[in-house]
Symmetry: C2
Subunit: 256 residues, 2 copies
């Protein structure tokens, strides 16, 4: 059985807050061994002072863009930019957030969400004496599907991917599913409770003790899969244009 419980009682987070200590105090006496805490990245960013003044939200997005993956201008003129950010995350607007932040500011993602997760997990483990894990989550759109889901952008003390390779099905054949993206599924399950508009940035996911381990397990950064295996390096239009230019150049190059 899996249980997801929203944790109330965390104060409004402001820059400079010791979030690990606040979470350790707020969860005191409410956790069990093997619990996973799901923390919305927004409060991590706020505590870490990732608010930046932004007369132009686009400037903030550009500052967080390692590489533009795809861009599209809607009929109403609104621009959607899917970019790779410094964390290796491919997401709309580089994860720059303008909702639930003070007017005139936008919020960047935490600089190192795996480190943030480790700090939270360490503080909660020390205070509670329990082996717990932490997932820091943010909201992502997806190609080919409407709507957004929460995924893990930081993790500590949690097996972020459950490797099933080498496993056998009930008939003794190789399993085709090779790796369950457990940290992402935990983030999605927690999102069903935390919701979007309520002041509920913290939830405990109970019943997955088999996924909880040492704090030095690979973090959420290890979920990123870019490079040669990436079949969607850039959007179709962008790749088409690259190819078109290459075709024009090739045609213009005299054969030796």
């Amino acid at each position: 059985m899996l249980t997801v419980i929203g944790i109330e009682g965390l104060p409004e987070i402001v820059p400079g807050d010791d979030l690990p200590a606040l979470i350790a105090v707020t969860t005191d006496g409410r956790l069990e061994d093997g619990d996973i805490l799901a923390v919305t990245s927004k409060i991590v960013s706020k505590a870490e002072g990732r608010l930046v003044a932004a007369a132009d939200r686009e400037d903030a997005i550009t500052s967080q863009t390692v590489r533009e993956v795809a861009a599209r201008t809607a009929p109403d003129g609104r621009i959607t930019r899917i970019v790779e950010n410094p964390l290796g995350l491919v997401m709309a607007a580089a994860g720059v957030d303008a909702s639930n932040v003070p007017e005139g500011f936008v919020l960047l993602l935490p600089e190192d969400p795996d480190a943030s997760a480790r700090a939270i997990a360490a503080a909660v483990r020390e205070r509670s004496g329990l082996a717990i894990g932490v997932v820091v989550s943010d909201t992502f759109g997806r190609p080919w599907r409407a709507g957004q889901t929460d995924l893990a952008i930081g993790a500590a003390g949690v097996r972020v991917v459950e490797d099933l390779r080498g496993g056998r099905d009930d008939n003794g054949r190789d399993l085709q599913v090779t790796a369950a993206a457990t940290a992402d599924e935990v983030a999605s399950a927690a999102d069903l409770v935390k919701g979007k508009t309520s002041r509920m940035p913290l939830a405990v996911v109970r019943g997955l003790a088999h996924l909880v381990g040492p704090l030095d397990l690979p973090g959420a950064r290890s979920i990123v899969r870019l490079g040669p295996l990436d079949m969607f390096r850039v959007g179709s239009e962008e790749a088409w244009r690259e190819g078109y230019e290459a075709g024009l150049r090739a045609a213009a190059t005299p054969v030796e």
Copy 2:
């Protein structure tokens, strides 16, 4: 609070089984108003006789391919084909499954998983007298991230996307997140309990009664978003090659 409980007791499903009736009987007395049943697509396919003899799994994939989105040959010669299938789902191998099926066969996805979900929901509602929803789930890889998650390929009596447009954040500003992909998050939460190798194709997700509604709500097909809004119509290599050919042709065309 959200609870996910694996439901044991369903017999091994074989072609011709009345799955809605079997699920209604198995869940009898174990459900509450507002529950959502998560059903692994594999047992739906098996009941509906979607087993096909497949000397060559590739033939089965081709038969389920409306459009090839991307293909890649790994150094070991293994081919990965990401295709759009007749359900509008973009997924590896068109959802054709060879694990946990009899030797010499592969399993296709249900022909109309929304209809399958409606039949299950209707049978359970009739027997139990409860307003419950049904999500039929399958396993998907994702661009840019390792591992797979479960998503909803069929749904009945469930708000598959929770539209938050027009909502305001706590400061009265427009919410940037416009729609939570609730049915997909339900499928992912259930997958954490159902796992991959255990005989647990059925789970109940409790605590989301606000998402449960009439049986004629839009199904999972409505989550599909292809066409003009799709920035990843084909893989980067495929789009690049299309563009390259177009560039060569353009260069060869005399200017009038």
